[in-house]
Amino acid sequence: MELLRRLWYLLNRRRLQRELAGEMEAHRAQMPDSRSFGSTLRLREDAGDSYGWQWLDVLEQDLRYAFRGFRRSPVFAFTSILILALGTGTNLAFFQVIQTLVWKPVPVRDPATMVRLERKGKTFSSSSVPYPMIQYIRRHNNVFSAVIAQTGGNMAWGDNAADRVHVQFVSANLFDEAGYGPEDGRLFHESLDERPGTPPVAVLSHGFWERRFGGATPAVGSTVRINDHPVTIVGIAQPSFPGLRPSPVDVYLLIHQYDHFTPGASFDTTWNAANAEFYARLKPGAGLASIEDGLRPLIQEMSRIYPDLVKPDETLPASPGTRRFMRDRDASQARAISALALAIVLAVLLVACSNLANLSLARANQRGAELSLRAAIGAGRSRIVRQLVTESLVLASIGTLCGFWFGYALLRLLESHPEVPDNLRFPADGWTVAASALLCTFATAFVGLVPALSISRGDILKGLRSVANTSPGRSVSWLQRLLLGAQMTGGCALVILAGIWANGFHRVVSRSPGFEYEKLAALDPSLARYGIKGESAREFWRQTRAALADQPGIESTALTSSVPLGRSLSEGRFSDTPNLSVTVFHVEPSFFETMRIPLLRGRNFLPDDEPRTNVIIAKRLAEHMYGTVDVVGRGFPKSKSSSTIVGVVLDARLIKITATNTTEIYEPLAPSAHESASLLVRTRQSPDRILDTLRIAARRVDSRILADTATISSNLDRRLSPSRLFGAVVSGIGALTLSLAAVGIFGLVAYCVSRRTREIGIRRTLGARDGAIVSSLIGDILIPLLGGLLLGSAAGLALAQALSGNPFYLDPRDFAGAAASITLLLAVVAVALFWPVRSALRLDPWKALRHD
């Protein structure tokens, strides 16, 4: 009841206060000596206080006062909000990304008991596992309650070979195990879809459904053609369905129906290909440790049946969904990277906050007189601090709100990046809100409390004197200089780090891949998928090349086992060169001419070179393995030679464009390998125009074939896209830091100038020269500026040194990048100094003297 009355009072406060005033007036009028009645206002406030809402009035006063103050200095308010919004927004976006990618478990039902298994032997490790091996384990194990296999690829949609969609072949239990339902229709279910003879069915991803069908329901139940094979769409996945791993998926198909779409592939009997991802659900009560023991007998059994393909000492290490299916080492690496990234953006926020503290300190100093006045007429210290904290709370709240919006916009921008698949989303959650509240509190404390305390400690009389008189002497307090120095140090270190990092990405992106990629295209018909093998594969290529021979746009062609910069290949290592990962390309002699990879030593392949006896190796491998490039005629590999080196070619990054520790081996393309080969084409003009020609030529030879085609420069773009994205993010952080530094320095010096206008006027009238005025203005801040610059440079280079190894590979000797960063920073500082100083020099002494 009492609480209700309190609330009722709160709601009718204005009217009740008015009534009280009327009542008091009546009281006063009845008194014989009406003067003895005290101040009605004061009495009213005291009386109203009984209801306990006094603080609300104070808050309202403070808020109104704060907003009035912001209206009076809009530049200050705007700058502060901008700085805070940028600082907190970046932090929130990073926080969310890192949470989603590293810290939070995979968003599936009970991620702790869901594991991914990889394959590891003495001499190899592979993240994928042969599908028949997964099936074998599924049938015979006793540790898993469910086994899931999936493999991705791209296939032709409809009968247009150029229209490729991302397909994901999955086990029928994927959706049930992940714990997601359908948006429309039904998803796959083990009981429905694993019965023998079930017709081929497909589930569309939500994004694809919207793109292709405009989100229209009739998609369900209709029949479409994938790779020219009919399939019925039975349902649409939920938009939130994340899959087990972020990857672009348009259509989900059943993995046991793989061969329906690629009749010749014999997917479920191919033991010698690592072709599927292996996930499993632990039986209730089973721990991670039980997996190895549970699987060991199965591996031994398999190695007995397939002694060539499975070794008895192999293992299948498992990583749980709570670790995002990352192996221990990868997980700790990811944590290190994310911690560093977060530390860097937090440092940006710190720089921003010291910047803001400085600005509001400057503003509070300016308001010293006003605050002293308030103190003189009875405002207590706590009341003044409360007022100042309220002001910064308002700023911080608005800033954080804007920051929240900015962070949200950043995340949406990131989600729309082509490199980020549809099923990778960064939804803001409770943690983000909590983090932003924390940042807001932090910013308030930092930005409000420091100046508030430093001001309210001030001497009232001294403050009052400055009402009439700008005090001479130091215009910038030690605290301000300290903050400026800290800000410079942090900013400089960050800018240098960002500079070196961005420069590294830039070098990677702009580095030549070692071959001329601009006029190259590739035709990948995947003949094996259609069961075209052996002699018929060779015949296919003979006919296709004959059809292409009279094309004037084609300069040369070469068959190769893999498309340059296309799908990732498995990498090997030699015991002689443990630090290099090696990819093997099986190529025709015309490959090097078509790619324009120059021969350094020896000779090209000859048509009758034996695949296993002759190799051409890249320069880097020759230097690492033999210490020289004059290795023609020597056995390869060095310590256990099985073939002869016939030539050495220059290095070319054929698959991993950004890697620095890879090298290549070339072997002659065996006649039996034609079924899995692709045709590389060098064109005379733009290669985009030849793609249709290539597809049509392949289809004319065999009408079943819907071949994949690509230009190598588009492959390059795709391979570089992550580096470009990271480079852009890092440069963005650098630019943010730079602009924060600029705003901070500009604000401080401009404030000094405005505060010392009178003094400058006097100096002018007394005949001070430009130099004297400039030095009096920036003399105070020169030491923290330069000191911060030196300290920051040292810190930046030291950090780069610390991050030079795995997994960041910053180049601490990239002095060009560092120097460019410092020059840029100096230029920004100079510009930030220039404007306020110029306005000081242009002051009219007479106006300045009248200035108050």
């Binding site: 009355r5 009280l20 009542e23 009281h27 009645f37 206080d49 009984s50």
Partner: protein, 109 residues
């Protein structure tokens, strides 16, 4: 005029409730009545009267209504509510117990 002379802490509310027992009164009249009833011994200042009245309102022991006074003035009259009456009774009993106890101690020696 002695300031708040002689009013024991916490008894102002009780005094107000007591003078309202006879019938509704407005603020000035409450002060006057207490002054008179105490034989000019107790003077209630406006600075204590109105906060005390607000507290009583908040507790729900009195209600306030606007009326026209005998002198044809618009005034706000306070009247006792049933819960106020109860409070007055228990408050008086409490007060008596307390004063008797204090008296026993003071006069027992």
């Amino acid at each position: 005029m002695p300031r708040e002379a002689g009013i024991l802490p916490g008894t102002l509310g009780l005094l107000i409730l007591r003078v309202l027992q006879q019938g509704p009164l407005h603020g000035y009249a409450i002060a006057q009545r207490i002054h008179v009833l105490s034989c000019d011994e107790l003077a209630i200042e406006e600075g204590s009267l109105y906060p005390a009245l607000q507290r009583l309102l908040l507790k729900g022991w009195v209600k306030a209504d606007w009326t026209i006074s005998d002198t044809n003035r618009k005034v706000r009259e306070y009247r006792l509510t049933p819960s106020g009456r109860k409070e007055l009774e228990s408050g008086c009993a409490e007060y008596r117990r307390l004063t008797r106890a204090i008296g026993d101690v003071l006069e027992g020696i």
